[in-house]
């Protein structure tokens, strides 16, 4: 019985890899089989190409490019060729599913199958439908629903795979090394796990109820911490700025909100709708206090979302800004560019170290505040 359980656990990473292959193989196959239909709409769109070949360094554009999501994972640019990993594009429009590789778009220059990657204007970066000529976007049509595996989604898969590999191997070594001292990866992660249990969960939620919330708190802490750290790594598979995507932080804050609401006991809801000790004229006829309390219930997860998003994105913008100082000065004169390099590198290293601290602190603060909200919601009141 126990042996089969461990066999399943050890199969999990293999299962995940197999699932990824099953997912991507048909996509690659469909991308190839779509070749015959390409001939009708490969009208080259020249305008998006002109800015790339102009050569002038645009700091704002470079920074924005590194912060936002994209349909391909750009690795390097050597001369005029850019090396990037094209990611699958999955669109749902007019009741049909379109799946193809984003290399068909040729960095926004060509349209494919009636879709085009918009490179400027209000839909910049999004996929729009094009009219029959293959160039002009169809203004009247709604945007197709985009389920693509974009850079952020790919980074999410990579970090989830990494988390599973690390923690499944740690749990297996705990089972194998019962009554022994921790060894290897265990001893790296154990202080963090105990820190979350003893300094975040137990004081905030209380001795009796903290075990119920430990899985969620541990998951959220390590997920945010690992993704923050991966965002600081400048090369593949890091550097995708996942926790700087407000949709991702919104989902994390939504989890906290849902768990808080579901773990609220009668005293918690009573304090929101009909707070004891508040004069009656604040609750009837215009329920001022309940409105303020309900706004408070929604604001707390919202603040969690914005805090994580803004901290991580601002840190990346600052580091990228320091690095682009070199190129901005280099545009004015080579000598200036060379002389500002040590200053810029020094600042970038300093900001990088600060970002490491911020990566840990933001994960800690998110987990701590979630634990505090859970504790407040499920607290037995001794009036």
């Amino acid at each position: 019985m126990i042996l089969s359980f461990y066999r399943i656990k050890s199969l999990c990473p293999a299962l995940w890899l197999f699932g990824m292959l099953c997912f991507f193989a048909p996509l690659a196959y469909s991308a190839q089989t779509n070749v015959p239909e390409v001939t009708t709409d490969t009208a080259a769109i020249g305008s998006g190409h002109a800015e790339k070949t102009s050569g002038k360094f645009n700091a704002g554009e470079m920074i924005i490019e590194h912060i936002v999501d994209a349909h391909e994972w750009h690795i390097a640019e050597i001369g005029h060729t850019s090396i990037s990993i094209p990611l699958p594009v999955i669109l749902y429009s007019d009741g049909s599913l379109h799946v193809f590789s984003s290399s068909r778009f040729h960095h926004g220059e060509e349209s494919y199958n009636g879709f085009k990657l918009e490179t400027e204007g209000k839909n910049k970066g999004k996929i729009v439908k094009v009219l029959a000529d293959g160039i002009t976007p169809d203004e009247s049509a709604a945007l197709p629903i985009d389920f693509s595996i974009s850079k952020n989604v790919m980074s999410l898969f990579i970090s989830v795979g990494l988390l599973m590999v690390i923690f499944i191997s740690i749990s297996r070594s705990y089972a194998r090394r019962k009554d022994h001292a921790p060894k290897g990866l265990q001893s790296l992660v154990e202080p963090l796990i105990l820190f979350i249990r003893d300094d975040i969960a137990r004081p905030s939620i209380g001795e009796k109820r903290y075990m119920r919330y430990m899985p969620f708190l541990l998951t959220i802490f390590f997920f945010i911490f690992l993704n923050n750290l991966l965002g600081l790594v400048p090369f593949f598979p890091g550097g995708a700025n996942l926790t700087g995507n407000i949709a991702v932080t919104m989902v994390l804050a939504l989890f906290t909100f849902v768990i808080t609401s579901f773990s609220g006991n009668k005293a918690y809801w009573k304090h929101i709708i009909n707070a004891p000790g508040v004069p009656w004229w604040l609750k009837f006829p215009v329920p001022l206090m309940p409105i303020v309390e309900i706004v408070g219930v929604v604001t707390k997860p919202f603040v969690l979302m914005v805090r994580l998003f803004a901290n991580i994105t601002a840190g990346h913008i600052i580091v990228l800004g320091f690095m682009s100082l070199i190129f901005i000065f280099g545009n004015m004169s080579i000598g200036l560019g060379l002389s500002v390099t040590p200053v810029s590198v020094g600042f970038s290293i300093f900001m990088g170290l600060l970002e490491l601290l911020v990566a840990f602190i933001q994960a800690y603060v998110f987990t701590l505040l979630s634990a505090i909200y859970f504790g407040m919601a499920s607290e037995e009141h001794a009036h």
Binding site: I64, V303, V306, R307, F309, A310, A314, I361, Y364, V365
Partner: protein, 86 residues
Amino acid sequence: MSVLSLLLQAATDLAPVAKMGAGIGAGIAAIGAGIGIGQIGKGAVESIARQPESVGDIRSNMIVAAALIEGVAFFAIVVCLLILFL
């Protein structure tokens, strides 16, 4: 006359004024964060001086409070960035 024409220009072409507003807003947010975190630091350092054995507790509370205040400052930064880029 030049004042009036300047006002007319400001009234009709407000995009640069909006960017200036965003810059000033970000600066004021930085001032607010600086004052707030400075007061946290002052309180923390003074209480460490009064009771040196509780350094660990004070340090963690200081960091938590600083992160919360930075969160509020980042709200203002996000609004200014929205003005600049939307």
